[in-house]
Amino acid sequence: MANYGSSDHRSLQEKTARELIWTSNRTFQGWTCSQCEWNSPLPTLLSEADARTAYDRLAAAKFREHVAKGGEIYIRNCVYCHGDNLDGKGHFAPGFNPPPANFQDPGTIAMLQEAFLFWRIAKGGPGLPKESTPWNSVMPPWEDRLTEEQIWQVIMYLYDATGQQPRRWEASEHASH
């Protein structure tokens, strides 16, 4: 488990980045709400507009950093099956059935919420529910190898690199009306 519980040494950038991610994506539900709360960490001498700009810049910088780290984790772990182009055509792909997921396909991560991705990555093939066998997924349970934060970074990378958007509740509600 990554130590998300301790909040004393969290920097302004981290807080702001998380805030941005939370407000923009809304569905990073794996993060506990204490981290999502706005606890106005900004200096008072700035006007609110200026503060917002400074805050957005910091958050955006931090987001790029997370994506970059996610990319590094991806290339060292996931690329063998899911491929450099995230299209499921990694070097090990020809040997496995079902084939590795193609993240470029709008039918995969774009149809899922980040929380689902988190669960699927953390639990892998062995974590799939028994009700729906025969599962033949060779997806490793990454909770053994990656921290919670690293899994989120990979998820950010997946969406950023493919240009896909996670599925949202509002969108699906809207569609059903």
Partner: protein, 506 residues
């Protein structure tokens, strides 16, 4: 404060006479404009392409090839062969007679990738991006491109024929291809363990029986070109001058093409043929040549430590038969060396077939990676020096011999290839050993270890679950029933005709 000090631009009041700063700005702007005009019109075309290529490179290539183009990206340490270091300006695949590749050569590798390596085909990128990346790659070693590429003139093509293949085989030995590539081309030549590339990394000779892994492509022209001008940065020399006659390049090509199929033709199901006769133990027996092989692709085990990112064994050919008593598996796979292992850096070569301990009634099967603590698997395993044994496994490190195992088998190693027969009775007793029945889809998986490459325990290549199907035994009924039906039909027709005639007579 004089106003002119802050009116650095055209937005200053129109009534204010142009200040010194304005004039300076004007001259800087015009100089900049002139510079841009020069850059965009007069500079060599690649200069601007390279800048656009840098953006693509940093998005798509940097993880392996590194920011500086030195092949030291984040993924590099896990990969084999290592990502190319562009700063040396040595490029493996060229269509040229000198060291300089053409832009088209580089473009083709970017587009098609390098089979058998971690370099994927980048055809997904727009052509312009790929061309720009080529321009950018060239900037890592500008010296290497000073000498213009010189086109390689291949000798006149000679088509394949028995005579040409024979001549190719003679040349193969004469110019000592077998020293690295092995007598039958399976990358098992005597010098294969010592080969290093220009960077000091170990490099394996090409397995000539697996053409689909040829780095520069599997077409005849590509193969002839590799033989003629070599593979730069590796121990593979250029042979255009070394062969007796220039057309020998084509004889060699024809010989190499004759060594193996064009693609691995992977199987999706393992069919077990039904036979009447006794099944021979000898893997070299003619009996096995008549059985259709099922080619199974194996991949690295990367779930538990130690992970195997670069598995040595990528393909196993499975021939399987059964008679009324026994089931037998004939397996062939390439391995450059027969290894018993020292137990430190090398280990015994091994292979195993994995089954569920009892034929599953539903669709649920044990975990494909040798089962887990609750659901174990049954392994029919051969190990160098130990022979065939029956094991029960509850995970990749929890193996135990099944008491009273009665499997047998024999392995032969020749010219970089193992051939193995493993046999067992069709029916079995106990809860740890499965029985095999015709018409039932039986889950099967495979694991292999190249001990010479340090593979042992979880460090292996493997498959997920496949299905095995025992063909129905062919009965003799097909020789009797159709003629009987025909006879019966004729008899009925005869009766009808007779009845009709007798009525006509009345």
């Amino acid at each position: 404060m004089p106003r002119t000090n802050r009116s650095g631009g055209p937005c200053g009041s129109p009534r204010t006479p142009p200040s010194r700063v304005d004039r300076t700005f004007g001259s800087i702007a015009s100089a900049l404009f002139a510079f841009l005009v020069i850059v965009f019109t007069a500079a060599p075309a690649w200069a601007q392409d390279a800048n656009a290529g840098k953006v693509v490179y940093e998005r798509k290539c940097v993880a392996c090839h590194g920011e500086k183009g030195d092949g030291k990206g984040a993924a590099a340490e896990l990969l084999l062969p290592k990502p190319r270091d562009f700063t040396k300006g040595l490029f493996k695949i060229r269509s040229t007679a000198n060291k300089t590749p053409t832009d088209q050569d580089l473009f083709r590798i970017v587009s098609d990738g390098m089979p058998g390596t971690s370099m994927p085909p980048w055809e997904v990128l727009p052509e312009r991006d790929r061309r720009n990346v080529v321009a950018y790659i060239k900037t890592f070693a500008p010296e290497a491109f000073k000498e213009p590429p010189k086109k390689l003139e291949l000798p006149k093509e000679v088509g394949s024929s028995e005579a040409s293949i024979k001549r190719g085989k003679e040349m193969f030995e004469a110019i000592e291809c077998h020293k690295c590539h092995g007598t039958e081309g399976r990358a098992d030549g005597p010098s294969h363990p010592e080969l290093k590339d220009e960077w000091g990394n170990p490099v394996a000779p090409a397995n000539l029986t697996k053409r689909w892994n040829f780095r520069g492509g599997r077409s005849r022209t590509e193969i002839a070109t590799r033989i003629a001008n070599g593979v730069l940065g590796t121990p593979m020399p250029a042979f255009l001058e070394a062969v007796e006659k220039p057309e020998d390049i084509w004889h060699l090509t024809n010989y190499i093409v004759s060594l193996g199929p064009d693609s691995p033709q992977p199987a999706t199901l393992v069919t077990v043929s039904s036979v009447k006769d006794a099944i021979p133990d000898d893997p070299a027996a003619d009996f096995w040549k008549k059985i259709t092989p099922n080619n199974i692709l194996l991949e690295g085990q990367v779930i538990v430590d130690p992970r195997n990112f670069n598995p040595a064994i990528d393909l196993v050919s499975v021939r399987a038969v059964y008679n009324d008593k026994e089931i037998a598996f004939h397996l062939t796979w390439d391995d450059p060396s027969e290894t018993k292992g020292d137990g430190k850096t090398t280990f015994p070569d091994a292979i195993s077939l994995q089954f569920a301990p009892q034929q599953p009634t539903g669709t649920e099967r044990p975990y494909f990676l040798m089962g887990d603590a609750t659901d174990g698997v049954y392994l029919l395993r051969w190990e160098q020096g130990k022979g065939v044994s029956e094991l029960s496994a509850h995970g990749p490190t929890k193996l135990a011999a099944i008491p009273g195992g009665e499997a047998s088998g024999k392995a032969v190693f020749k010219n970089g290839q193992y051939a193995l027969v493993m046999k067992r009775s069709l029916a079995a007793t106990g809860t740890e050993r499965p029985s095999f029945r015709p018409r039932v889809f039986t889950p099967v998986a495979f694991q292999a270890w190249e001990g010479g490459a340090g593979e042992s325990g979880p460090k292996m290549s493997l498959t997920s679950w496949y299905y095995l199907r025992l063909e129905e035994p062919q009965s003799n009924r097909r020789f009797f029933i159709p003629p009987a039906v025909a006879l019966l039909t004729f008899a009925v027709l005869g009766l009808i005709v007779r009845a009709a005639r007798s009525r006509a007579v009345q």
